[in-house]
């Protein structure tokens, strides 16, 4: 049995790759060929769908919009969470435990509950259909997550380092920027990864808060499906292209995946 | 109980070792007597843990054979060798009670229930843990947990040897002494073959009947603590054992006279012509200070008063040269060092040269 242990992860990975393979398969077929029948490989290999997406602004702007608000959200979440996580780690203050718990509950907020209220809130602020709206909305669950993860990493750095820096005459901002941040570099990386992940994949809020200008790729895809019938080849290609940013990010943090999860603080 | 024989054992962590330097453990040929208490002493990375793991079966050696009594166990798995091992930090089963922890190795071997009870009670008694039998093992102190680790070896009557891999590392200093004493007591009582790996010379010298000193993968000396102190076979042993370590000064040897520190000293032994790097090694305990100018010209840099004795730090011709003086001794100004010739060891390329008694050829 020991010998064949590798079978388990292998079978699982095959199971995972099959739908993705199928998507890839269809992305290189014309819609007619797809609807015409079932085949493992494209009979007529075509990159027409990809070309369409990469040249049609309605399509590629969807990606640009999505990446924009995700990047905005990651930057905002991490930079706001850093001082807060530092405070939670190093200080006791009035109401700190309750505040921390309350923050965590927002990670558990059902997006469905917030879809309509967010729509009204951001409309009333004149931010409907902007990237910043989605970026801020995603902060609802990403900032608590960021604070939680960073607090764990910051607590792993001994307080003595802070104290030594003060004795050496560093002001707080300088100490934070020059000394502290390099020490928690991997923590910031892990946090940024998770913020990216949860903002990139979330669709309900992103769709509810946008219309044309900041339309995420998800909305573009569903619109295509409903109005012009099932343009399957195009949809498949669009789908494949959404997998790529995720794959790139995973590749870059591959060494930290186990470490980040090991913090036990996803 | 068993006699353990290392028959030309050598080990490399590389898949295809070619040269001497590829071997983490150089060839070693040795017999560990049945019932002996041995220490494996050496600095970090010298190969002692490798050797221990070969004996316990967690590692299969690249070369050589391992025998327990007459049986070749070189490739046998650990559980088939009947050894017990205590690791650097306490390894216990958190979810079980103390008694359950001790019963575990017996239960796995299908020992009958009442036999298990008997042995566990005995072990608990021996280790002074009788009152805690039904406590969850998780809540105990570090030294108690190490006792449980040890106990899992003691409950198995047929255990061939008990191996210790720096077991006192995480124990508080004041408990270290207690545990060491307990180990010696156990050895006297049960007579197990015990092999104790450490980098702390005090632990080694107080625990063991015989100490195996290792350096860079090689065994440099095996001997009783006295032998290691009086006649270190290697300069490294001289440095490592004793606090402060042996004084080492380059010298020239001619017949029965040796020249170092600008002076010539007569020896009680004779030496042939020696090639290579020759040095003398003299323990600070055998260095006296004289105010009359006889002996070696040293310049004293510092005197450390430890209470029970004094360490005089000095320099002889640019080399450090220390002396250990009894409590209350005076350290004269401009003193010189006098050395007992019988205590001067001569080293050629770091290895001890014995020389012959005067009067013999």
């Amino acid at each position: 049995m020991r010998r064949h242990r590798w079978l388990v992860p292998t079978l699982y990975i095959i199971f995972l790759m099959l739908p993705i393979y199928w998507l890839l398969n269809m992305s290189f077929k014309t819609t007619n060929e797809i609807l015409g029948g079932f085949s493992w490989f494209p009979a007529e290999f075509t990159v027409a769908s990809y070309v369409k997406i990469l040249t049609d602004p309605t399509w590629y702007m969807g990606y640009v919009n999505s990446i924009t608000y995700v990047a905005l959200n990651t930057v905002i979440s991490v930079s706001f969470a850093l001082p807060a996580a530092y405070a939670f780690s190093r200080y006791r203050f009035l109401g700190d435990k309750h505040l921390f718990f309350w923050l965590l509950t927002n990670r558990m907020a059902p997006p469905a509950v917030f879809a309509l209220p967010f729509f009204q809130l951001y409309s009333s602020m004149g931010l409907f259909d902007t990237h910043i709206a989605v970026a801020l909305a995603h902060c609802l669950f990403n900032i608590p997550l960021a604070v939680w993860i960073l607090e764990g990493f910051i607590s792993g750095v001994p307080k003595e380092i802070d104290e030594t820096a003060y004795l050496d005459g560093y002001s707080f901002p300088r100490f934070f920027a020059k000394i502290f941040m390099p020490l928690i570099g991997s923590g910031i990386g892990v946090t940024a990864f998770f913020c990216f992940m949860f903002s990139w994949v979330e669709m309900l809020l992103a769709k509810s808060l946008t219309a044309v200008e900041a339309k995420p790729i998800a909305a573009v895809m569903t619109r295509t499906a409903s109005t012009s019938g099932y343009e399957l080849g195009l949809l498949a290609a669009a789908g494949v292209l959404t997998i790529i940013p995720g794959a790139i990010v995973i590749y870059f943090v591959r060494n930290y995946i186990a470490k980040g999860f090991a913090m036990g603080r996803v | 109980m068993a006699q353990i024989t290392l028959d030309r054992i050598a080990h490399s962590y590389l898949p295809h070792p070619k040269k001497e330097a590829d071997f983490a453990l150089k060839e070693i040929d040795h017999v560990w007597e049945d019932g002996g208490a041995y220490a494996l002493l050496g600095p970090s990375g010298c190969g002692k843990t490798t050797l221990l793991n070969i004996i316990s079966g967690l590692l299969v050696p690249t070369r050589g054979k391992l025998l327990f009594d007459e049986n070749d166990v070189t490739i046998l798995a650990p559980e088939q060798r009947n050894i017990a091992q205590v690791f650097q930090f306490p390894v216990i089963y958190d979810t079980m009670t103390v008694a359950q922890n001790l019963a575990f190795p017996l239960a796995n071997r299908h020992v009958p229930r009442d036999e298990i009870e008997k042995r566990v009670t005995e072990a608990l008694d021996t280790l002074d843990l009788a009152g805690k039998a039904n406590r969850k093992a998780r809540g105990l102190t570090a030294d108690e947990k190490q006792k449980i680790s040890l106990g899992r070896g003691l409950v198995r009557y047929d255990v061939n040897a008990i191996l210790f891999d720096e077991p006192l590392t995480v124990i508080d200093p004041h408990m270290k002494w207690q545990l060491r004493t307990k180990l010696k007591e156990l050895h006297r009582r049960f007579g197990h073959t015990m092999i104790y790996v450490t980098h702390d010379q005090t632990e080694a010298l107080t625990f063991a009947d015989k100490v195996v000193v290792m350096y860079e993968g090689e065994v440099v000396q095996i001997g009783t603590p006295e032998e290691l102190f009086d006649e270190p076979a290697h300069i490294f042993v001289g440095y490592f054992i004793g606090s402060p370590g042996m004084n080492v000064v380059p010298c020239e040897v001619a017949g029965d006279r040796v020249r170092f520190g600008g002076r010539e000293v007569a020896l009680n032994r004779g030496y042939p012509k020696l090639e290579g790097r020759t040095e003398v090694g003299i323990r600070p305990e055998f260095v006296r200070l004289s105010r009359t100018g006889e002996g070696l010209p040293i310049s004293i840099t510092r005197v450390e008063d430890i209470g029970r004795f004094k360490i005089v730090r000095a320099r002889l011709e640019g080399h450090s040269f220390d002396a250990v003086l009894p409590e209350g001794s005076e350290v004269p100004e401009g003193a010189s060092a006098v050395v007992d010739p019988a205590r001067i060891n001569v080293y050629q390329d770091s290895h001890l040269v014995r020389g012959h008694r005067l009067g013999e050829a």
């Binding site: 199928w22 079932f38 706001f80 900032i143 992940m197 309900l204 949809l235 | 796995n108």
Partner: protein, 287 residues
């Protein structure tokens, strides 16, 4: 570590507090408002008390959705947790292949949820999808767009495909934290594979597994996009889970009062379970 008592730390926390409060409290207040009011249009509201709550709590539609939700969550927990742990146990402890496995397994976690839904939508189609075609070829009568059972099977399979890797990664991290000496000692003690799992691996994974259970419970309880894109809640109502029902009421039917009341109840349930798990985790960490 010993923390310093300093109320000025509030300044460091203030930005976070403001953003999250804006996003959390203001909308919630809106929801609370709607849940106790009614309107005839023209933005005129009047107080209705607990009418909406009573309506929701007694509505069979709500009960049905709740039942489906619990069934869904229970099923995926029962599958994903053991499966994830089993895979983590079977993975190599370190090395090149371990890295490769982790990267490939993490991939489904980073696919936008609507793409997951769309991908499975096509993948499970009986005539042109690999899964659909394959199942029918094997002799099963499978069409998830028409048969409720097939639809359930598909959304569950999709969720297992999507999220098991999270459990694997968490369990794997927990396993990696176990020092090799524990395994060595167990070997010397003659422990069987099962004993090693029960007495060494499982206890050390308790913390990460609790987090895994918490996350999977919460996320599956709130799930919306993937099943919606896959089945739209159908056929009929067969796979209309709680979130889907809620969004239908709020954005589809504009039945604000009902939707708001349902939201509050939904949120309170989520909070309760969250609080329970949080207490358990924090107890564990204090040790």
């Amino acid at each position: 570590m010993d923390k310093i008592e300093n109320n000025k730390a509030w300044f460091l926390v203030l930005p976070v507090l403001l953003i999250v409060a804006l996003n959390a409290i203001v909308p919630l207040m809106t929801v609370v408002n709607y849940s106790v009011q009614d309107t005839f249009g023209n933005n005129v509201f009047f107080f209705e008390g607990t009418r909406w709550f009573e309506e929701v709590l007694s509505s069979s539609r709500f009960h049905a959705a709740l039942q489906r939700q619990f069934l869904f969550t229970a099923t995926i927990l029962a599958i994903e947790l053991p499966l994830g742990v089993a895979i983590a146990l079977a993975m190599p402890r370190s090395g090149f292949w371990a890295s490769v496995c982790l990267v490939l397994m993490a991939l489904p976690l980073l696919i936008p949820w609507n793409v997951v839904g769309a991908m499975w939508n096509i993948y499970a189609l009986p005539d042109i999808g690999l899964l659909g075609y394959g199942l029918n070829w094997l002799g099963f009568e499978y069409n998830y767009t028409r048969q409720p059972d097939a639809a359930w099977f598909t959304i569950i399979l999709m969720d297992v495909w999507h999220w098991t890797s999270l459990v694997v990664l968490l369990a794997y991290a927990g396993l990696r934290s176990i020092d090799d000496n524990y395994y060595r000692a167990a070997q010397i003690d003659g422990a069987s594979g099962w004993a090693v799992f029960r007495y060494i691996q499982l206890p050390k994974m308790k913390h990460v597994l609790t987090i895994a259970i918490l996350l999977r419970f919460m996320d599956s309880f709130m799930i919306y996009t993937e099943p919606f894109v896959l089945t739209g809640g159908g056929p009929g109502n067969a796979t209309t889970l709680l979130s889907i029902d809620l969004v239908k009421a709020a954005l589809g039917e504009f039945n604000l009062g009902v939707a708001a009341a349902m939201s509050i109840i939904y949120f309170l349930m989520t909070l309760l379970v969250c609080w329970l798990f949080y207490t358990i985790i924090m107890q564990g960490e204090k040790k």
